[in-house]
Symmetry: C2
Subunit: 670 residues, 2 copies
């Protein structure tokens, strides 16, 4: 098994003579060492860097697939022992601010986690890392009545009527490059969807089922003023996917989609070569930059990883908009689709709408640094990060010349974040480490990656996304960083065969000349599968409402006063029930319907006090509404079984909460 020297246009100018078997042998030696000293896992990870970066070169990806598969997860490192981790030392130099938020005090930052295949957004406080709430997005969720009341169930139904989703990349709306606290946008990788969360009410208020795409992966707003929301479709499918071309993979396509952030309507799409992956934009409203893989356009893993390179796509957004405005598109399912493939006439000449920038095989992510100068493309299968000079995207005649640095950082680099002091932090999936490095040194000393590396710290285990506070905006704070580790193995009490992930909090406020470059591991946090990414904002950026404003929904729904609680029979099989809700009391003490009636229940929480939420549960009818103060919700159900059903309040609201009930009487029909 020979590891050919890599042919990576613009990727690196060193030669690569390592073989996979040599690489394997080195790793095996490390693993054998580990087996002999299982008691202290910290030693294990500290050993790994001493293998030397110069021996961890770019692997020819196709041949590496098997090795990566067997190594990935580093399962052998932990094996099935559980005792090792308890001896892991927890060093703290004493100059790290406390991450403990005492009772009654508030966190400094909001964290917005995407819940992965839980489909939700989770809100954390930092630095305490306490979960403040969850916002159901693609997942019907009973506690908040999401997908149970008419408004949200209609929204989910219109967005494809899917019972789940896979939320990956949350993006906060910006004004002038700063988070403005209005909205959060997030993709659904399980379907071609993009959702918007309203940050006044902390509720999902729109979901768009994007035509022509099966899986939205990368997703972000356009910096600095949220003029677009962009969405990458990852999976290549026939266009449209209606049964044509099913056995003709050459005709499958991947699309870059632009949405209107207000209306959430799809504006246009751009067809490209390969599978699009993750996405970020520059800070000036021109470039959207996407990682991509499978330039081979294969359908099996060996085909997808056959070549040595892939191409990052840089979308010239004003140029695309101009093409659309000029009618240079075909329309598919009502959407203008612009040809952005390499062979497109729109990509010929001096002003291509999409630039194809060669990088080592299967890069994973693109993150633009806060000052907008560089975009970092982590290598995943390559130990490098490719540094793209954004200014050169518009000027370089050869796209590969936009890559101005390519430091070798370690095995499995996936994501990069920033502290605003010129440092980048990259997660190393296979090494289970975070590497801190100096950006300008990496650019200016391209031959000596070691000079750029400021330190490494072990994380536990197999980190995916990492994110520092406000690093996706122009205002990074440079104090805390969260590493989202995919595996936790022995870090927590066991909870059965499905393990939690492990989010780790690092303090990065101290730059030091030590092994970690000053990074300190502060705390471990088990998390329900599978938080994917996170984005953080200062508490001053977010101003949620404490109650609903009835005026917000005027005309859309009926506010039910106590005095107006009533039952209206529409026809022999249709009944409308209206009830107010307040502590201890529903406006309707009871109501009678007939077996088989379709009942529409409308309920208003007439209270004005914060934190006084009421529920309406109807046993055996799949009805549960959650009513915050001044909110009105509706549910429609069929009263199909005669009998007595006790409507009760699910939010513990008063000392007489238990007695807070209404009685639905369903009269038998003949």
């Amino acid at each position: 098994m020979t590891h050919d020297s890599a042919d990576t246009d613009g990727a690196t100018d060193e030669t690569h003579t390592d073989t996979i078997s040599e690489y394997e042998a080195q790793l095996n030696a490390v693993l054998e060492d580990i087996d002999e000293t299982p008691a202290d896992e910290s030693d294990v990870s500290l050993e790994l860097p001493t293998l030397g970066l110069n021996r961890r070169d770019f692997m020819k990806a196709g041949a590496a697939a098997g090795v990566m598969g067997s190594l990935a997860g580093c399962t052998s490192l932990a094996g099935s022992t559980n005792s090792g981790s308890e001896n892991t030392p927890h060093s703290s130099s004493g100059d790290v601010p406390s991450h403990i938020v005492p009772p009654g005090e508030h966190d400094e930052y909001y964290g917005f986690w995407s819940g992965g295949h839980s489909g939700d957004i989770r809100i954390y406080g930092l630095p305490s890392m306490r979960e403040l709430t969850r916002i159901p997005v693609f997942n019907p969720e009973q506690a908040k009545g999401y997908g149970f009341d008419k408004k949200t169930s209609d929204m989910l139904e219109e967005a494809g009527d899917y019972t789940w989703g896979d939320s990956h990349h949350p993006s906060l709306s910006e004004t002038d490059g700063k988070y403005d606290g209005e909205y959060l946008y997030v993709n659904d990788k399980a379907h071609g969807r993009v959702a918007r969360v309203n940050l006044t009410y902390f509720e999902t208020d729109a979901i768009t089922n994007v035509p022509n795409v099966q899986s939205v992966h990368g997703c972000c707003i356009q910096s600095p003023d949220t003029e677009y929301v962009f969405a990458n479709s990852e999976f290549r499918t026939p266009l449209p996917n209606d049964g044509r071309d099913i056995n003709n993979p050459d005709k499958y396509v991947s699309l870059f989609t632009a949405l209107d952030p207000e209306s959430m309507e799809v504006l246009w799409q751009v067809e490209v070569d390969g599978n699009l992956d993750i996405l970020d934009t520059d800070k000036d409203g021109r470039w959207a930059i996407a990682s991509a893989y499978n330039d081979e356009e294969g359908v099996e893993i060996e085909e997808m990883t056959k070549n040595d390179r892939d191409f990052v796509k840089a979308f010239d957004v004003p140029a695309i908009q101009k093409a659309v405005d000029a009618g240079n598109y075909k329309e598919v399912n009502g959407v203008p689709v612009v040809d952005g493939t390499k062979s497109s006439s729109l990509n010929k000449g001096d002003n291509p709408i999409v630039r194809y920038i060669p990088t080592p095989k299967s890069p994973h992510c693109v993150e633009v640094e806060p000052n907008g100068k560089y975009a970092m493309v982590a290598g995943k299968l390559s130990p490098t990060v490719s540094i793209i000079d954004i200014e050169k995207l518009g000027s370089a005649s050869d796209p590969k010349d936009t890559i101005v640095g390519q430091p070798k950082l370690g095995l499995g680099p996936l994501h990069t974040t920033y502290d605003g002091r010129g440092h980048a932090y990259t997660s190393l999936f296979i090494d289970s480490q975070v590497v801190k490095w100096d950006i300008e040194t990496a650019v200016n000393s391209p031959k000596k990656s070691e000079d750029a590396i400021l330190g490494k710290i072990d994380v536990h285990y197999n980190p995916g996304h990492i994110q520092a506070i406000q690093a996706m905006s122009t205002e990074p704070t440079g104090d805390w960083l969260v590493v989202l580790n995919k595996l936790s193995k022995d870090r927590f009490l066991p909870v059965g065969p499905i393990y939690p992930d492990n989010d780790q909090l690092l303090y990065i406020g101290n730059d030091k000349d030590n092994e970690t470059g000053g990074m300190e591991l502060v705390s471990d946090h088990p998390v329900y599968p599978e938080p994917h990414d996170a984005i953080f904002a200062s508490k001053d950026k977010i101003s949620p409402a404490k109650t609903w404003d009835a005026a917000d929904y005027e005309g859309e729904k009926e506010y039910v006063k106590e005095s107006n609680s009533r039952v209206e029979r529409i026809d022999d099989e249709t009944v409308e029930v209206y009830t107010s809700v307040k502590r201890s009391e529903y406006g309707l003490r009871d109501f009678t319907v007939k077996q088989g009636d379709e009942v529409t229940l409308t309920a208003t929480n007439v209270e004005g006090s914060q934190d006084i939420v009421h529920g309406i549960a109807i046993p055996e009818h799949n009805v549960h509404l959650a009513l915050a103060p001044q909110d009105t919700r509706q549910a429609t159900f069929t009263a199909d079984k005669p009998g007595v059903y006790w409507v009760y309040c699910t939010y513990f609201c008063s000392a007489l909460h238990l007695e807070m009930r209404s009685r639905m009487i369903v009269e038998p029909r003949e």
Copy 2:
């Protein structure tokens, strides 16, 4: 509005002359004081006790309803200000062990939280209070594929096919009075259901839809050896609830149900007067003791709270079993229903099957102390806890003589827990406090409740359940206590109109002669709505499996090896697809079906390594399976749309996770 002196047989021997208006005036005075000093809320609560317990007597409940409703939640305390809480001092005497669990170390205890109307069980580590995982129970949940794979979706369908549930009271199986780590049982208040969680796999493995009942509220195992699981139906409904007696509330009934903990079959039910509420058992296998309200058997709140007293029910389990064995029951929907009403012949004579013990109106809970001597019944609308001497349940000729103490503790006592050192801790919902008191002093000095009170501590706000470590077993540890507060108001960063609850951790290991009796508030934890109750076990008590054991399911499902991945066409409209799953690779790289086919997908995770979980997602088909190592799951769906669909892995499993895919090709039909 006159507050009559309470007529509470056996409830208290003091006279009560306070009026509601007097009570209201006192509270208003307190609230006015609070308005003047909003900056420090700790002062607010500290003021409250100085009102004097002697002025906070038993309130005639019917008349009190309005007051309680308006006071409940103590909304006026916080109003809409947000600034006050940040000044709350956090006192720590320095002799409290750290609740921080450093990275790599394990918690000491498991906590099992019921998720309330989230319908799940949540697993926490204590003292860190980190959520380790969640176990979906009554809620279909996508991340673990619960309700998505055949096994769990069939279980949910057979248990009523409801889309949600309301889990309230978790109970751990015991052997010899000690938690044995086998099972956890929990009720569904939204329906008449009881579920069992298997603590080897941390997965719900049985749900029983109990006949004849609409809402199971109280639920617990029988101590000391889990010979039964008991379930109280709270709502009174016609028997059976099939359209008969709908307007005849006198004929509505509430039932006490016994289930077999192994088969989860319903064994028998006992009809009683009033609405059953919460439940605990003695430690000797004889008595199950239930709180109850609405002895009036009214249907509206004023009717339910008209009288001054209610009756705790003590079920003599062996006597009931004897009556069942002797055929003294009627059968309803296949279940033997024994008459346990006051007027039943089985309750005449010296050995009634159910004893009716008078207490002040609407008591809330029953908790038996760890040594099995006393059962505490918190007053809710009465400021007292009634102490039942369990030994006297079998000997006292008058049931009221079983009450051997009734200390007045504060406003809104709801739940009691224990430290094993002779102290009880009772949550005070309206006072927003926990009171620590000495049990034997309360029994021996019945006229002077003050002597029994050892201290009070403010909690934030409106506590429901409280629970100390292993206090429901015979092995309390007496170190940590969790208070589940229903409102959090200004304790956390705001997250929109639906607030988190607030679980607070107290250290109770120090007995001190100070204001709090040594209790110290350690940490605040926001929680998603609406954790209802919790139960804690030492980490040594629980031994979860790290992978599935394929042998456990032999015969029930097919283990799909890599070599056996295949597609089998059953008939023109039915296809069976079998695939193995391992890192980077599905056994089937692609498979083809025809439009309209019913497809049954069977998949096995063939890996043996812990923490290597794989998902199977099929976009646009509502398919998501979560496969832990050695697990096999099935999903059935209709391939209704022609096209190409990319099956992908949702658990980030390796560096080539992104490339881990299969391709479902759906051929168009003519």
